[in-house]
Symmetry: C2
DNA sequence: GACAACATACCAACCGGTTGGTACCTAGCG
DNA sequence: CGCTAGGTACCAACCGGTTGGTATGTTGTC
């Protein structure tokens, strides 16, 4: 009956706070989300909050890292790695991204893109964590992009730059979706991006 | 010597507040910019603020409209309308946009893109004003885009959709520039967009 | 003397953060 | 084995400062 595992029992106070942050910050922004809001949403007290995080800024950094972890796990097991052809994997990635843009705006938008807008000048630590999340994800696309460009003899395009460009299109689509309160404009931008990749590689856009 | 024009004399308290908002909101975000901050930056008292604006939210709406006015005046007199060829005008527009992406992040980023991220769910009035600013600017590009597509016999592309896509690329570039604290990534995304337009129209990218 | 354009002083609510304390688990010791 | 020392996890109450907003007063102009 001895239980040597982590002493916690229900779901982890820290994780509950991080989950609450992921939701609330995307709804209201970082600075409009108060520590009290977070605690209430997570069902914990403020004492517990400051036991786990030295400051609200520290929670911001932790939330960005948590976001990087959960999204990279999501994309690692996503079905877009299946195609044998690298270009088809790139197309499949963009299809997955477009398919994820559904429902309420706060549900499909990017936590770190939202946070970095607000705090890029006031919190270097959060800014760096958000940058690491975005850039780290973009880098996972580079092998497929590089292989696709090479296979189609495309020259003069930097795979890293194109990977960052895909993230720019997604982040910009999120902003437009927020402005219009409608996901459609963001999905449409992914279609234009897919079209660009197709033209670049000299193939017709699939589907 | 009788002056029947607006009774103001120096530079306009309202305009000073709006200018301060344009600067501070891009630096710190909307909710982190307090009414006191705005007043101090504009050199006016809080009584003056609430004389001109019913609430902080009302200032947000006014700032979005002010932004729409000043940027549309800027782009109306920009040199990209000169070329006789519509496609060249589109390229020139993108060159102008890229050329504007210089200096500190808060200086070239978009006020309404920043604001709408934060308040899209909490302030419908500000959200609508930001949408009007972005969409209104995008619509000014439609005639040139439509003419360019027609001149090059491109079918299946909606000029309105492509115009919105250009704004998505710009807004996304701004976010990446904030994350990296470097304008270069935003300029680069404009280059990819220009490349897309060139491929679409079957021409080589100029310069 | 009516009215717009401010200024000054103030307010209740809320902010991030701190305090002192409690409950519980584990390690070590005799 | 019992006991205690120390650490982790958490809580309720509180703190000084800041928040958006207001009430009231003053000034200059038609």
């Amino acid at each position: 009956m001895s239980n040597k595992l982590p002493p916690v029992q229900p779901a982890g106070t820290k994780a509950k706070l991080l989950d609450a942050a992921t939701r609330l910050v995307r709804e209201k922004g970082f600075s409009s989300t108060s520590v009290d809001d977070l605690c209430k949403a997570a069902g914990v007290t403020k004492g517990a909050f400051f036991h786990h995080f030295a400051s609200k800024e520290a929670l911001g950094v932790a939330a960005a890292n948590y976001w990087a972890d959960t999204t990279s796990a999501l994309f690692a097991q996503a079905p877009y790695h299946a195609p044998g052809n690298p270009l088809d994997r790139v197309f499949a990635y963009l299809d997955v991204r477009a398919a994820l843009i559904v429902g309420g705006v706060a549900e499909f938008t990017c936590l770190v893109g939202t946070m970095v807008q607000e705090v890029h000048e006031t919190s270097p630590a959060i800014r760096a964590a958000c940058d690491a999340s975005i850039t780290g994800h973009a880098e996972t696309l580079v092998p497929d992009i590089a292989a696709a460009l090479k296979a189609h003899a495309v020259v003069g395009i930097d795979p890293h730059g194109l990977a960052m460009h895909t993230q720019a299109v997604l982040q910009g689509g999120f902003i437009l979706a927020k402005a219009k309160n409608d996901p459609e404009v963001a999905r449409q931008s992914v279609v234009y991006l897919k079209h660009y990749v197709a033209l670049l590689c000299g193939v017709s856009v699939p589907e």
